[in-house]
């Protein structure tokens, strides 16, 4: 709230939700709100990485959706969206209202100032408890992949290690 939102809706639950249920809950929460011109989501969450919540919400609202933005310009009721692809950027031009998902590198994040944090305390947060449905993608357990905690071969300490490093570079065929 301290970095620029005017108000917030907080869907309160202690449980972990799958992507489909998350999208349904978000959709229910915003369907009857004012008409927003632009809805901004992250492209994927750092933890679950499902790559689908925003797209499901867009379908629910009947809005066009562009994903993975690294650039956006709004003009004349349209959004020009830039997506990074191999060797360049793909450009989309969509009418508003629209839903977009963004990636890191889109802009330089704004950090909250102390006065902004104080003002944020007075902004309304609408907390709504929500009940999780049975997950369709049911998490059973989390496991650490094999191969972590490798034992590195120590080539040396400080600049004296250089000859051993070069030997490795030659052995790997990169030098």
């Amino acid at each position: 709230m301290a970095i620029g939102a005017d108000r917030a809706i907080h869907l309160v639950s202690e449980e972990e939700w799958d992507a489909q249920a998350t999208a349904s809950a978000l959709l229910e929460a915003i369907r009857d709100e004012e008409q927003f011109d632009l809805l901004v989501f992250g492209n994927e969450s750092a933890d679950a990485g499902n790559y689908q919540v925003a797209i499901r919400v867009a379908y629910g609202l009947g809005l066009p959706v562009v994903t993975g933005l690294k650039g956006i310009t709004i003009a004349d009721g349209r959004a020009r969206c830039e997506q990074e692809v191999a060797g360049g950027r793909d450009v989309y031009d969509v009418p508003l209202p629209a839903l977009v998902t963004v990636k890191e590198g889109l802009n330089l994040p704004r950090y909250p100032s102390v006065p902004a944090k104080l003002r944020a305390n007075r902004k309304p947060i609408d907390a709504r408890p929500v009940t999780r449905p049975d997950p369709k993608l049911e998490k059973l357990r989390l496991v650490v992949p094999e191969g972590q905690g490798k034992q590195a071969e120590v080539l040396g300490h400080g600049p004296d290690a250089a000859p051993a490093v070069v030997e490795v570079l030659q052995r790997l065929g990169v030098a």
């Binding site: 790559y51 992949p145 071969e153 120590v154 400080g158």
Partner: protein
């Protein structure tokens, strides 16, 4: 029964998705593509959709084909497009979807979390399974099967084609791209400044490699975000990754774990990065890196 795979031209990740599809107990493997290609599947369905990439239209074509073939699973590559198109399919069919799957067995699947540094074992409750194959979790299918090609024209609405690529802008890249480089010399907080990267540039140039960095570096403004290696940056898969002054945060490891070998140079012998490294040099990168460069020049006789 059959399994349907979304295939893109000249795309190794699509061939990996075919390997996943073939591992499923689903009978014939059918491919679906929009841009003309060939693929080691039994039947390749080519959707005739005019114009550039339009995710909703491509998904509409797959949904229509799914209605006709009634496959047990639809598999897509774990690329940006693969995940996007399959998420559209999932939204249209209101079915669950598992992204970045690394294994499927006995009604359970394993998928990547935290950029692959943690795995989730899960169960997908759906008759039709929607899966994307995690990049490099499966070998590319090298089967020499020549698919029988069938074309079809999907029914599309104006809404399906409303979002499409209208232009592709090339970016001027100087030198070797991070994603394709055989050697990546990467710097973290330990480099200390923007100017500090000069010694990394020098070593990278000598090895015909690219320079990368960790998130701390881009946040500090020492390097552009395009140089960032990590979960939210570029994911690299070089023959050798040289991590200089990088502590080894999970998000960074997610971007460089595709490297065949990792050499870590760090002054702190307790740094997390050493737990992910094949080779270690304990020392100040400001002394070690120039020493390697000098030794390399000597070896190359320059």
């Amino acid at each position: 029964m059959s399994v349907l795979v979304f295939v893109e031209p000249d795309d190794d990740l699509s061939l990996q998705a075919i390997t996943l599809a073939r591992s499923l107990d689903g009978g014939e493997v059918h491919g679906v593509c929009v841009e003309s290609t060939q693929a080691p599947v039994d039947v390749l369905h080519m959707a005739e959709i005019e114009g550039s990439y339009a995710p909703a239209a491509w998904a509409a074509a797959i949904v229509q084909l799914t209605g006709r073939l009634a496959p047990s699973a639809v598999v897509a590559p774990g690329s940006d497009r693969g995940n996007e198109v399959l998420a559209h399919v999932a939204a249209r069919l209101d079915l669950p979807m598992a992204a970045n799957v690394t294994d499927v067995r006995d009604g359970e699947l394993t998928r990547q979390r935290w950029g692959g540094t943690l795995l989730e074992e899960a169960r997908l409750h759906a008759g039709l399974k929607l899966l994307t194959a995690a990049p490099f979790a499966f070998a590319a299918c090298v089967d020499s099967t020549q698919a029988r090609v069938e074309t079809f024209v999907p029914d599309l609405t104006p809404a399906d084609t409303a979002v499409r690529v209208v232009e592709t802008v090339g970016t001027a890249t100087g030198g070797i791209s991070l994603a394709d480089a055989k050697v990546v010399v990467s710097g973290g907080r330990g480099v200390g400044s923007s100017e500090g990267f000069a010694i990394l540039e020098e070593l990278a140039a000598l090895l015909e490699g690219a320079v990368g960095c960790s998130r701390v570096v881009t946040s500090a403004g020492w390097r552009p975000h395009t140089d960032q290696v990590g979960q939210t940056g570029t994911k690299v898969s070089p023959d050798l990754y040289i991590a200089c002054g990088i502590s080894g945060a999970t998000q960074h490891i997610a971007g460089c774990k595709g490297a065949k070998k990792l050499l870590a140079i760090n002054a702190d012998p307790e740094a997390t990065i050493f737990g992910h490294a094949d080779y270690a040099v304990i020392g100040d990168l400001h002394e070690v890196v120039p020493a390697i460069t000098a030794e390399l020049r000597k070896a190359q006789g320059a």
